[in-house]
Symmetry: C2
Subunit: 401 residues, 2 copies
C-alpha cells in the first residue's frame, strides 16, 4: 500500500481546529467536552468516507470497523486541559490514513479507534480501561473529575451517539503510534522509537483534614494546617524514595486544592494527587507502601484526618514480539540506523488493549521532549516517517491476517 | 442610656440571613457580592429608622451619621468566603443599638459605620484603608481578587448607591467591638477583652514559574516543578523564622494555585499567598527579608521564574489611652474580674481608622477560638455583656464630647 503524506498532514491539522487554544498549535479538548465530541463526530465522517462502519461504545470510544477480522490501529483524540496537537491525535489520524491507503490497495482490512478519556479526566485511560474489562462501567460511572462531575453525567452528554460494546475478537492485534513525550529521540536526532514495554502507573487522590481557622489569632503551636501537612508529606516521600527508585522512576504531585483557599485563613483541608510510574511492578508496590505509611504518619503527628481515594493504575506491559519485529524491520527500511528500541515512560491505551490482544507501539520524537503543553510539536518529516513505518509494518503483517 | 439586648440580638440574627450558608449560623457574604450589598441596604434602612443620615462613600463604606460632632462606632458587614455570623457584624449591630439607645436617652450623638471589604477580597481591610488614606483609590482600583476581577469592577456593582467621601473631622473617636477570634478569653472563662494594641500584618502573592511537562516521561532531574519550589520555600522559611519569631508571631500560606493542576502534568506554575503578623514592626521587616531572600534562592536553585506581588500590610497600632480607660472602667462595672487587657492578633478596621482619630477596641470570647469558619460562635450572654460594656464606655465619654 502507499500512504499519502499530504492527506495525512491535512487531516492532522484539521483535527487541531477542534478546541484550538489559539496559542501555538495547542488544543483544549478534554474528554466529553463540546470540542471533544465535535472532533469525534468529524472523525466518524472521515472514517465513513474510508468505507469503515462507525460505532460508539458505551464509554464513547469511537470505532471505524473493517468487515470481518482485522488489525486495529489508533489512539485517542481527547486532550489534557492544556494539551498539544499530536498527543493521541497523531495515532488516530495515522490509523485513518493507513486504513484508507490499505483500502485503496485492496487490503489488508484495517480498523481504526479513538479511545475516550485517555488523558484521565476521570482517572487514567478510562475509555480503554473499561472496554478491556479493567474496570466495570458501574464502578467507573462513580468516578468524578476535579469539579465533582461524575463519569455517568459526562457520558450522558454522548447518550444520543453511543451503542453497545465492540467484540474484541474481531481484531488480530493493536498498533498505536504516538509521540515519545520524552527527550531521548530528539536529543539523539533519531526519527523512530519501537516500544519494548510500557511502564506501570499508580495514581490516587489524598485528603488531609485539619482545622480551618483565623490566620492572625491562631498560635502556630495550636494549628492543624492541612497545607503544612501536605508540604511535610512531600518532603518525607522525596527523602524516603531515594533508597527505592531508579533514574527512570518518576513521581508527581500535579493537583493541589486548599480549602477555603484564602490568604487570612489557616487551610482546613487539602486534596492532592499522588502519581508514580516505574517499569517494575514490585518497585511500584514498595513506593505505595512508603506513600501510605508516610501519609498515615503525617496525619497522626499533625492531628489531620486522612482519606486515601481508590488507587487507579496499570501494570507494566511488554509489547508483542511479532508486531514489534514487524515495526523494527519497517523502521530499518524507512529510517535506516535512525531508530531505537525503548521503553515508554508514558501510559497509553495499548496498556489496556494488551488485556484483549497482542499490542505494539511506535514513537516519533517530541521536540525538546515537551508534551502535555501547548508548545508540544514534532518535525513533520518525522510524523511522515512514523506513518510510513506503521504502514510498512501493517503491510508485512498482511500474510498473517 | 439603656440598651435593649433583645432588639440587639434580633437585629444580629436578621443580618445573618443575608448570605446564610445553610450550615450552622455560617454566612457567605464576600465584599460587593449580591448578599453583601443587600445586607448593606437593610442596614441603611435600620440606620435611618434610628434617625441617622445614611451615606455610602466611593468604596461602599456605609455610614449612619449623627448631626454635628460625634463618636463613631462600628466594624464591617462583609464576610470571608466561608465566614461566621459575628465577625464584623457584631460590631456593626452593637453600634446600631448603642446609637438607638443613645438617641432615646437624648445623647450623646453616635454615628455608625460598616466598612467594605475588611476581609480582604482585594487585599487587607480595603475599605477603611482607602478611606483613611492608606492607599489611594486609583491604585486600589487595580487590585484584583483571586478570579482576576478588579476592585474597580466590583465597586461598579454599587455605582448607583455611592456618593462622596465622609470627612473624618466630624468624628471624635472610633470604638470597634469584635469577637476575639482566638482561644484566650474562652479558655479563661472571661467575658471581655479590652485591646491594648493591634499587631501589624504583611501580605503578598508569590509566583514560581517552571516548565509544565509530562509527568511520565520527564526525568526527575530534568524537571522544573513549581510545586516542589513552593514546598521547599515553605520548609526553608519555617526553619529560618525560628531565630526571629516569638510565640505570638504567626505566618500562613493560605492560598495555593497550581497550573495546569492535573494529575499527569508536572506543575509549570504556582501562585500562592504569604502572610505574616507580629506586634513588632522590626520583626515584620526581618521576616520579609527572609521571605524575599528564600524565594530568590529557591528560584535560582530550581531555575524557576519568580514574581513577588505588591506587599499589602499595616503597622502595629496602640489603642488610645482615653478610650481604652473608658472601656476598662465599664468592663469592671459590667463583668467585675471577668475581663482582661490583651493584644489583638487579628487585623481590624480600627488599625486604619487610627490614622484619622483616636481608636479603641473590645473583644468578646470566641467559642474554642474558632472564627473565619461556619462554626464561629459566642455565648449570647457574652454578646450582651459586650454591648453593655460598649454602651457604658460611650456614656462615660459623653462629658468629653
Amino acid at each position: 500500500m502507499s500512504v499519502n503524506p499530504d492527506r495525512f498532514l491535512s487531516d492532522l491539522h484539521t483535527l487541531r481546529q477542534f478546541g484550538a487554544s489559539g496559542i501555538g498549535k495547542g488544543v483544549v479538548r478534554p474528554a466529553y467536552s463540546k470540542p471533544d465530541i465535535e472532533a469525534r463526530e468529524w472523525l466518524r465522517g472521515r472514517m465513513e468516507e474510508v468505507g469503515l462502519t462507525t460505532h460508539y461504545d458505551p464509554m464513547g470510544n469511537l470505532f471505524g470497523l473493517a468487515e470481518g477480522t482485522s488489525l486495529l490501529l489508533g489512539s485517542h483524540s481527547d486532550s489534557q486541559p492544556e494539551g498539544g496537537w499530536l498527543d493521541g491525535s497523531l495515532g488516530v489520524i495515522a490509523a485513518l490514513e493507513v486504513a484508507r491507503a490499505s483500502r485503496e490497495a485492496g487490503g489488508p482490512p484495517i480498523s481504526v479507534v479513538s479511545f475516550q478519556d485517555e488523558e484521565g479526566r476521570f482517572g487514567v485511560t478510562t475509555g480503554s480501561t473499561v472496554w478491556s474489562g479493567g474496570l466495570n462501567l458501574e464502578q467507573a460511572d462513580e468516578l468524578t473529575d476535579r469539579d465533582g462531575v461524575t463519569l455517568a453525567e459526562a457520558r450522558g452528554t454522548m447518550a444520543h451517539l453511543i451503542g453497545d460494546w465492540v467484540d474484541a475478537d474481531r481484531f488480530t492485534g493493536f498498533i498505536e503510534m504516538h509521540i515519545e513525550q520524552g527527550p531521548w529521540l530528539d536529543q539523539a536526532g533519531e526519527a523512530i522509537g519501537v516500544v519494548s514495554d510500557i511502564v506501570g502507573i499508580r495514581d490516587m487522590r489524598i485528603t488531609f483534614d485539619g482545622q480551618q481557622n483565623h490566620a492572625g489569632t491562631t498560635p502556630m503551636h495550636l494549628r492543624r494546617d492541612a497545607f503544612q501537612g501536605l508540604a511535610e508529606f512531600n518532603a518525607l516521600i522525596n527523602e524516603r524514595f531515594r533508597n527505592v527508585v531508579t533514574p527512570q522512576t518518576v513521581w508527581t504531585i500535579g493537583h493541589v486544592s486548599l480549602h477555603p483557599d484564602a490568604h487570612s485563613i489557616v487551610p482546613g483541608k487539602t486534596v492532592f494527587s499522588m502519581q508514580w510510574r516505574d517499569g517494575d511492578a514490585d518497585r511500584l508496590r514498595r513506593m505505595e507502601e512508603i506513600i501510605r505509611a508516610t501519609a498515615q504518619e503525617v496525619s497522626e503527628a499533625r492531628e489531620l484526618g486522612l482519606e486515601i481515594g481508590p488507587m487507579l493504575g496499570l501494570e507494566p506491559v511488554t509489547m508483542d514480539e511479532n508486531l514489534r519485529t514487524a515495526l523494527k524491520l519497517s523502521a530499518e527500511l524507512v529510517v535506516p540506523g535512525r531508530w531505537r528500541e525503548m521503553p515508554s515512560g508514558a501510559l497509553h491505551d495499548a496498556t489496556n488493549v494488551a488485556r484483549l490482544m497482542p499490542v505494539a507501539m511506535l514513537f516519533v520524537p517530541s521536540i525538546d521532549g515537551i508534551s502535555h503543553a501547548f508548545e508540544e510539536d514534532t518535525d513533520e518529516r518525522d510524523l511522515v516517517a512514523g506513518l510510513q513505518v506503521l504502514a510498512g509494518a501493517v503491510a508485512s503483517l498482511q500474510g498473517q491476517n
